[in-house]
């Protein structure tokens, strides 16, 4: 096929998918129906792979379709389905506008060693039991983190500005939404990766995809033998080099009429620019493979330097301090385990499958899910946890389990979620207002959805909390509501393995019907 329609179709599809997937990350009012983006998330290779390892089923087999798609059409995934790939195309296009005079793509050597070393190391780290590197480099997760931590706040700020203006006119159709306050250190990794990807795409097109991205490398291996591919008709090619100058993947070696299929992302930009109509996309029997030349040591050094920096950074991070208290409580909360969101099954399961794409963070309507720093250990950096100082888990909500694409949070029916214990409540009497001030408070019990925290008679008319861990679900409402500082008088300690909570007993009320007013 030599039609420019291929390129147009690719762009239309990519733009549509990019818009939907971006909206899904900034959709703080949950306006977009899940089915719009669920099918896009279904095909994201890394989350789907994690999900499939977890529960092998058709519902998690999206990556198999992508592998098949790659075997048939080449790396069209990278051009149409990968949000980070599409993002890079957009940046690259802008880069081209700015640097038209001195930026020209040209055929470049493949960083063979670096490429496969990164893929191999990522796989080795997975086999060693950590998805840290995979989650760090996974293009979908990089995009997700960028959208959650940079784009959503901007959207919220604009929303809040509009809301402030509208409220002057007594209109509340658009309302203010609180921004999740995230410790600054959490931004370091997303900032660095987004900066790296943006700079590389601005200046070099798809260099990230063809050097660092483990998904790109993996699909590249398959696309080498893909059935449909870009080819150059040797008889009509005049070696003008326009194709190579327009190839953001730097994969067209026009002098030898060869296309490096492992790096070609099937963008079809070369087809319409060829004045000889020598380039076409079509079915071809795999020919002999040509390897690239020697790697460029400078670029290689640069990229490995960046990676070393990324690997070093987490070690130098420290958690932020708690806010300054008004009135001091004395006994620190003894936490033995972080709380992972419902559907996480266990901390191990959650850590094993979460790629830290942060979709749950942006989807949570209660701002209780935030990225961790070192709570899960350094390898779990950015994997979300529940922070009950920022919010609490709404008893009637299962949003995070609905959106998770990797199976780190498995779907939970609402009724099952209401009986899933993600942590246990602990009461520190020495910090409690009722004990220290001898006045009633009870904010914890008010907020408890199962009455695992009950107020029982204390001194005189006073009532004091009493906890029942059998029916506690670990939602953290008590901890959130507790007014003591700096230490809470009641807190939820995470369950390393989520447990079943007992259903609160329902006794029939014995109340006589009112015939007359008692006053």
């Amino acid at each position: 096929m030599r039609s420019s329609f291929l390129r147009t179709a690719r762009i239309v599809l990519a733009v549509m998918i990019f818009i939907i997937i971006t909206l899904s990350f900034i959709d703080f009012r949950h306006i977009i129906p899940d089915k719009w983006f669920n099918f896009i998330l279904y095909f994201q290779v890394v989350p789907s792979l994690m999900n499939f390892i977890n529960v092998p089923a058709l519902a998690s087999a999206g990556f198999i379709f992508v592998l098949a798609l790659t075997l048939t059409t080449g790396r069209s995934y990278c051009s149409i389905l990968c949000p980070l790939g599409i993002y890079q195309d957009i940046v690259s296009r802008i880069g081209g506008k700015f640097r038209r005079k001195f930026r020209k793509f040209r055929f470049g050597k493949e960083y063979v060693i670096l490429r496969y070393v990164i893929l191999t190391v990522t796989l080795v780290v997975i086999l060693a039991g950590s998805v840290f590197l995979l989650g760090l480099l996974d293009p979908y997760s990089i995009f997700g983190r960028s959208a959650t931590y940079f784009l959503q706040p901007v959207v919220l700020m604009i929303n809040n500005l509009v809301a402030a203006v509208l409220s002057l006119f007594d209109n509340y159709a658009i309302f203010k939404v609180d921004l999740v306050r995230i410790p600054l250190v959490v931004y370091i990794l997303p900032v660095l990766l987004l900066a790296l990807v943006t700079w590389l795409s601005f200046t070099k097109g798809r260099l990230y995809c063809n050097t660092v991205c483990p998904v790109g490398t993996l699909l590249g291996l398959i696309s080498k033998v893909s059935l449909f591919r870009i080819r150059i008709d040797e008889s009509s090619c005049t070696h003008c080099g326009l194709c190579a100058a327009n190839c953001k993947a730097s994969c067209i070696d026009f002098k030898n009429e060869n296309v490096d299929l492992s790096r070609c992302v099937a963008c079809f930009n070369c087809i319409p620019v060829c004045p000889d109509r020598a380039i076409s996309y079509g079915f071809k029997k795999p020919g002999p493979l040509k390897t690239g030349d020697e790697p460029d040591q400078d670029k290689r050094g640069f990229i490995s330097g960046m990676l070393a920096l990324l690997a070093f950074l987490p070690r130098s991070m420290k958690a932020q301090d708690a806010p300054v208290p008004k009135k001091e409580s004395t006994v620190p909360e003894k936490r033995t385990s972080p709380v992972c969101p419902p559907g996480g099954v266990s901390i191990k399961h959650f850590n094993d499958y979460c790629t830290a794409c942060s979709l749950c963070v942006s989807a949570c309507p209660n701002n209780v899910i935030i990225p961790s720093i070192k709570e899960y250990g350094i390898a779990g950096i950015m994997q979300p946890r529940m922070d009950y100082h920022k919010g609490f888990c709404n008893f009637e909500c299962i949003r995070c389990t609905e959106v998770c694409p990797s199976g780190a949070l498995l779907p939970l029916a609402l009724e099952a979620k209401k009986l899933t214990q993600i942590g246990k409540v602990n009461f520190i009497k020495e910090n409690c207002i009722v004990e220290t001030e001898k006045t009633d408070c009870g904010a914890c019990s008010e907020h408890c959805p199962t009455k695992a925290v009950q107020m029982v008679p204390y001194i005189g008319n006073l009532v004091i909390p009493e906890v029942n861990n059998e029916i506690c679900v670990g939602c953290g409402a008590c901890e959130y509501a507790c007014p003591t500082k700096p230490f809470k008088a009641i807190f939820v300690d995470g369950n390393p393995v989520h447990q079943d909570a007992k259903k609160p007993e329902e006794e029939e009320l014995k109340v006589q019907e009112l015939e007359e007013f008692p006053f």
Partner: protein
């Protein structure tokens, strides 16, 4: 304005409005009852929430005794929790709907409904059924989850809560109608009229950490008091309050208490859930502050059975 003066004045206005309405051949249901006595409290039993309100407000001379043409009204139900109406954790939506309708018929310029919720406000407004009910009746439903909506006020009569940040609508509206639902409450034992006002302020944590009962009584002394209090006792949560664990925590009482006196209303409400007012610390504390009458046996209470 003293309570008695208020009633005398309201009554005059009520006559005027009633006369105006009767001239217009207005639907009797909505009209005031000419010659109504100056009741301190009206208690209705045995009907649906909206029908009970029609009867009750009519006995007080109609809503026009409280809402004048062109005024802005703010209605403050309890919408604290993401719970469905049958749990009775929030004020009955049907009652809110009818109150809004009365206000709009009385010529209110605008009617606002809000609450500073405990659960996510979007979910609470929606799942309580109040958002739809209020909107259908023509009210504006307003968020209250952001500090910027609140303005700091002095409460000179307070012992502890000397300053509070109060929702601007409470401060700016001409008429403030307080519509709590009667419930068991884990920390204060009961929530009704005065406790519902906690949803007018921003920093509730301060109340909890600084003698909750005293703060409730303190806030009741704030000059912007409810024009009218309507306690929804249609379904009453008897245990596991304030949000309830299951439907079995509540019973159907099919009652309603309407009064301009917060303290009298709360005293009456206490007996509905078989408690004495002395058991609920903030009631005697509010009485000490002179907020209203605890001796409801000496009040002129009109009881209606439907």
């Amino acid at each position: 304005m003293k309570r008695r003066d208020f009633f005398v004045k309201s009554l005059g206005a009520g006559f005027a409005a009633g006369a105006a309405f009767s001239l217009g051949g207005y639907n009797k249901l909505w009209a005031s009852t000419p010659g109504a006595q100056a009741y301190d409290m009206v208690a209705v039993m045995g009907g649906e929430p909206d029908a009970m309100f029609d009867k009750g407000i009519s006995a007080l001379g109609g809503i026009t005794n409280f809402v004048k043409k062109g005024q802005t009204v703010v209605i403050k139900p309890n919408i604290g929790w993401d719970r469905s109406p049958e749990m009775a954790a929030n004020t009955n939506p049907l009652l809110i709907k009818r109150i809004v309708e009365h206000c709009i018929r009385a010529g209110a310029d605008r009617v606002y409904v809000f609450d500073h919720t405990c659960h996510n406000w979007v979910k609470s407004y929606k799942n309580s059924g109040i958002e739809k009910a209020a909107k259908d009746a023509g009210a504006k439903i307003v968020p209250a989850d952001t500090e910027k909506y609140y303005q700091e006020v002095d409460i000179p009569g307070a012992s502890i809560l000397k300053k509070a940040k109060v929702h601007e609508l409470i401060l700016e509206s001409d008429v403030f109608i307080n519509v709590p639902v009667l419930k068991h409450h884990s920390s204060t034992k009961m929530t009704a009229t005065m406790k519902n006002l906690m949803g007018n302020v921003w920093d509730r944590g301060f109340w909890h950490s600084n003698n909750l009962h005293q703060c409730i009584a303190d806030y009741a002394t704030f000059e912007k008091k409810p024009t009218l209090n309507i306690i929804d006792c249609y379904r009453v949560m008897m245990r596991n309050g304030p949000q309830g664990v299951s439907v079995s925590d509540s019973v159907e009482m099919k009652a309603q208490i309407i009064s301009t006196d917060m303290l009298a209303a709360d005293t009456a409400a206490a007996s509905m859930i078989k408690m004495t007012p002395e058991q609920i610390d903030y009631i005697p504390l509010a009485s000490k502050k002179g907020i209203g009458r605890m001796d409801i046996e000496n009040l002129n209470i009109h009881k209606i059975k439907m």
